[in-house]
Symmetry: C2
Subunit: 219 residues, 2 copies
């Protein structure tokens, strides 16, 4: 793939406000998008995410009500993904989730589990001070989810699929809906973001960005 | 580009712990990586980031001291980027930065500036409650930066360049160093992450990830 082809994909991606409701993403393409979310890196490799694909029509209707007026994305998208981020009970350094993750997903030997666990504790307590509040730790989980978000949208663009990342919704409302209708435990997970995928109906406005010279400096 | 070629790039990417110090990324490739950071989406399109490319040898040496022992990345990387995220003085809904951004970067007409500004205020105050603390707003800026992080690493992988995202450092120390040696205003910016780019010296261990069925559910 040439540099120009790569750049074209990033130029192609835009926050698509309304999709062509008649077009559906193929199973293979959607699987590709999710697979690149799965392969995304996260701090310590702890994958503090869960991806909920919204298919239920009545859930989708209620979700629409909780997003900002004119969210043409929800009713017209081919696929909607709600990304959940893990909270303190599973992300704190001494949680069962972390210990189990190092042993059974990362398959680390016991001495490395101790070593990595020690680094993780120091990182949370001192370097990034994540234990200052429940929110700090949750926000840190969310940050990792945004890496996956970038990758999902880029992968989509590479195969000609449009996307729209969404933060414009009543987060408390969406979390309450997830608790009551999708058995999401609000103590374990919070909503990081939502993202819609589909095919554009109309061409977007020209992208606006600061010049590279304004956002980049050399030390 | 086929689905398999895209997946290969995501498989290729890993947290490269040590680079081949003899190899340098070409100007064109590094520009491509930064250009895809620049084209990354951010909430409201407000680009709350600044990218510092570390070239100065003595700065690099001091930076190494502030990162965790064995950070083979700093001395061996071809390029190191420190990403700064904007804080309250420029990201709060009523800041001059935001107003100027809507008018002069996004070139929005006055009535749209008012409308978007209103949404942004509601978003910060109510939907995502970002004004609870200075940290909440800063962490939200950081989240946007992590989208660019994902994209930079993916772009690098697409052209055969390795990367390593870094959170393992003394954040206060790095921020103090940036203030004293690179004139970074600590009231305006904090460090979101660092990322190193270069070429691998050895092949990585196999990637560990949970299965898609463990991180994805359908509602």
């Amino acid at each position: 793939m040439t540099r120009n082809e790569i750049l074209s994909a990033y130029q192609f991606r835009h926050a698509c406000k309304s999709f062509d409701a008649k077009k559906t993403i193929s199973e293979d393409d959607f699987h590709l998008i999710m697979e690149t979310a799965r392969l995304s890196p996260s701090s310590f490799g702890f994958e503090p995410w869960k991806f909920l694909v919204v298919e239920n029509a009545s859930f989708k209707e209620k979700l629409k009500e909780l997003t900002w007026g004119g969210q043409g994305q929800i009713p017209t998208a081919s696929h909607i993904v709600i990304c959940l981020a893990r909270k303190t009970p599973s992300m704190k350094y001494d949680s069962d989730y972390i210990l189990n993750f190092m042993k059974n997903v990362q398959k680390l030997p016991e001495d490395i589990v101790d070593l990595k666990g020690g680094f993780y504790k120091k990182f949370q307590e001192e370097d990034f001070k994540l234990l200052e509040s429940e929110r700090s730790l949750f926000d840190w989980s969310c940050k990792q989810c945004y890496i996956a978000l970038g990758n999902m949208m880029t992968t989509a663009a590479l195969v000609g699929i449009d996307s729209c990342p969404m933060e414009g919704f009543d987060r408390d409302g969406v979390e309450a809906l997830l608790t009551s209708e999708a058995s999401v435990d609000p103590n374990k997970y919070g909503v990081a973001f939502m993202v819609a995928f589909g095919y554009r109906e109309t061409e977007p406005m020209e992208k606006t960005r600061q010049a590279l010279s304004e956002i980049m400096d050399v030390i």
